[in-house]
């Protein structure tokens, strides 16, 4: 039953551009949603699975985006290699950021990750190679073995591929011993420690994996949007990613995709007024925390369940 639903969704995702080929702009929005979903899946590993708050997740997108842009443009390294290196850099920085989480918890960690996130932005602002305040323009589109992903639809499929990869990684993580250990430390660090879970190790793994996905998302962002600048990756975006995770459904994989779609599509419904969508999304975050801690995915599941039980009666 569940596999069937997943297959249907996958088929719809694969077929969507064929239906929407006359509206490339809309395909572009879906691509952006995919990129955000990859980032959200990363934060979900940190926040949803291992229970560590991070308010600097956008910084990892920045690290991925800048590394890849600089590597491809300044050093003429092929896209796919630049992607791998950039993801590794993000993962490495993630490990470094993971260390404070060994000593700090809760609000202190929130504040430190916020500060570290701003520090990354500040470095890119002051770094000539990264274009300073102006950022980097005309980033080349992704290309693999001579094939250039220049059109909206090809970019969509590329992002979809990496999204599926991220879902695959998240899904395997949940089922693995590592995933179980992470959830144990999310539920109670002290209890996890007492049953022999190496808390430090799993926190570091969570931060590095989550940051790697953040970096991957940043790489794809840089090469599909083709323009990056430092302030775009500040605390504002970090809060928005956190909101996507919470609104979509913290600790779930489907929630990250639904949350990202909501984040991208919401502005379209209210005439693309960015300020207003920020209000609505912020309100959604508040409402989710207050009333529906399981997020949109929880609401949808409850709805499906009700339908299902009605049919049976």
């Amino acid at each position: 039953m569940k596999n069937k639903t997943n297959l249907t969704i996958l088929l719809i995702a694969l077929a969507l551009p064929l239906v929407l080929y006359s509206k490339p702009a809309f395909v572009g929005y879906l691509t952006l949603a995919g990129i955000m979903a990859i980032s959200a899946l990363g934060l979900n590993i940190i926040l949803g699975y291992s229970g560590q708050i991070s308010l600097g997740h956008a910084a990892f997108m920045a690290i991925g985006a800048y590394s890849s842009a600089i590597l491809t443009m300044q050093f003429h390294i092929p896209f796919i290699l630049a992607l791998i290196v950039s993801v590794l850099i993000a993962a490495f920085v993630g490990i470094l950021v993971g260390f404070p989480s060994l000593r700090l918890s809760g609000f202190y960690l929130a504040i430190v990750t916020m500060a570290l996130g701003e520090a990354v932005v500040s470095i890119f602002k002051n770094w000539k190679l990264a274009g300073g305040n102006f950022g980097i323009r005309n980033i080349p589109p992704p290309s693999i073995l001579g094939f250039v992903f220049s059109g909206e639809i090809s970019k969509y499929y590329l992002v979809l591929f990496f999204l599926l990869l991220s879902v695959y990684i998240s899904n395997n993580l949940v089922r693995s011993n590592t995933g179980r250990a992470m959830r144990a430390l999310r539920d109670s660090e002290i209890a996890a420690q007492s049953v022999g879970v190496n808390v430090a190790k799993y926190k570091i793994i969570a931060f590095s994996l989550g940051s790697a996905l953040g970096g991957l998302s940043g790489v794809l962002y840089a090469h599909t949007v083709t323009y990056i600048h430092p302030t775009a990756f500040g605390i504002g975006l970090s809060i928005e990613i956190l909101a996507i995770v919470m609104v979509g459904g913290v600790g779930t994989i489907a929630g990250q995709i639904i949350g990202s779609l909501f984040w991208v599509i919401l502005p379209l419904f209210i005439g693309n007024v960015e300020t207003l969508s920020s209000v609505i999304f912020g309100a959604a975050l508040i409402i989710v925390v207050l009333l529906y801690p399981r997020g949109l995915v929880g609401i949808l599941n409850a709805g499906a369940l009700r339908k299902f039980s009605k049919r049976r009666r």
């Binding site: 609000f107 202190y108 500060a115």
Partner: protein, 292 residues
């Protein structure tokens, strides 16, 4: 080292530091009582400063607007608590903290929607050329800021030490259960704390606006500095927040003059990370929070 330059740097640093201290005080006040971090403290101030801007546009004299908005800021804070946070009763401080992140999006979005995302001019409370005395040059707005900060700190301390509600606030932050048994209505105390933090935010916003110019993101950096100030002071200590804010203002001024002005922002980030990792209780905090 020229002592005159040094004293000038210190005095004008105190002017900026006073703003950090006011905002930091608002954050610390909420943290002490609810154990939650209000990430929307700065943006509450930003929003109220825009309200002040609108009132000034209506040709109401600014000193009057200043007083009105300080009062409105208090009500704004009470409204946030009574209107929304009250429903989180029994929920974890972390949930409240995440809700305040939602406030950041709502307040910034709402301010941008109402007043636009461009920069607005904002008048100082006391116009005119800087004051010179014994070679020390001090902007009039700095004078106003320092006096206001001094007055509000005194009021704040008297309130907490000498009034019934102030003592009750301290009691609630020490032991909520025992305060409840004394008949203290904890929700009233929370509303008061949010009200007073709102007032500090509004004050901080209006004092900052002439210096940093008014826009939607005005308070983002200031709030980061306020967090640094709070961290320096141990995050739950009130004198610590004041001391931390003033120190940070002076430190930034000295570093940007003697070393490099591009270090101004990173320095506060470094302070946050280093202080929290090395000595999470800051320079002032007595004890870490009860919870591990």
């Amino acid at each position: 080292m020229n002592t005159l330059i040094l004293s000038n740097l210190i005095v004008s640093g105190l002017g900026t530091g006073a703003i950090y201290a006011i905002v930091a005080l608002g954050i610390v006040f909420i943290f002490r009582t609810m154990e939650a971090v209000n990430f929307a403290e700065g943006d509450m101030g930003m929003f109220m400063t825009f309200v002040a801007f609108s009132l000034i546009c209506l040709k109401i004299p600014y000193p009057l607007v200043f007083i009105i908005v300080v009062a409105l800021s208090f009500l704004f804070g009470v409204l946030v608590e009574k209107g929304i946070l009250q429903f989180i009763k029994g929920m974890s401080p972390m949930a409240i903290t995440i809700v305040t992140l939602g406030f950041v999006m709502v307040f910034q979005g709402l301010a941008g929607f109402i007043w636009g995302t461009d920069t607005k001019p904002f008048p100082p409370l006391w116009k005119g050329p800087p004051i010179k005395a014994h070679g020390i040059i001090l902007g009039r707005q700095d004078v106003v800021t320092l006096i206001t900060a001094f007055v509000i700190f005194i009021i704040f301390v008297l309130l907490l030490k000498k009034t019934k509600i102030g003592i009750a606030v301290r009691a609630v932050s020490e032991d909520r259960y025992a305060a409840l048994l004394m008949g203290v209505r904890v929700s009233t105390i929370f509303a008061f704390v949010w009200g007073f933090s709102g007032l500090l935010a509004g004050l901080g916003g209006m004092l900052a606006a002439p210096r940093f110019s008014l826009d939607v993101n005005m308070m983002t950096t200031i709030q980061l500095e306020a967090f640094t100030a709070a961290v320096l002071g141990g995050f739950s200590s009130i004198p610590g927040a004041i001391f931390g804010g003033l120190t940070l203002g002076v430190l930034e001024n000295l570093i940007s003059f003697y070393v490099s002005s591009s270090l101004k922002e990173p320095i506060s980030l470094i302070i946050i990370v280093v202080v929290l990792l090395v000595s999470p209780n800051g320079l002032f905090g007595k004890k870490m929070n009860k919870k591990v």
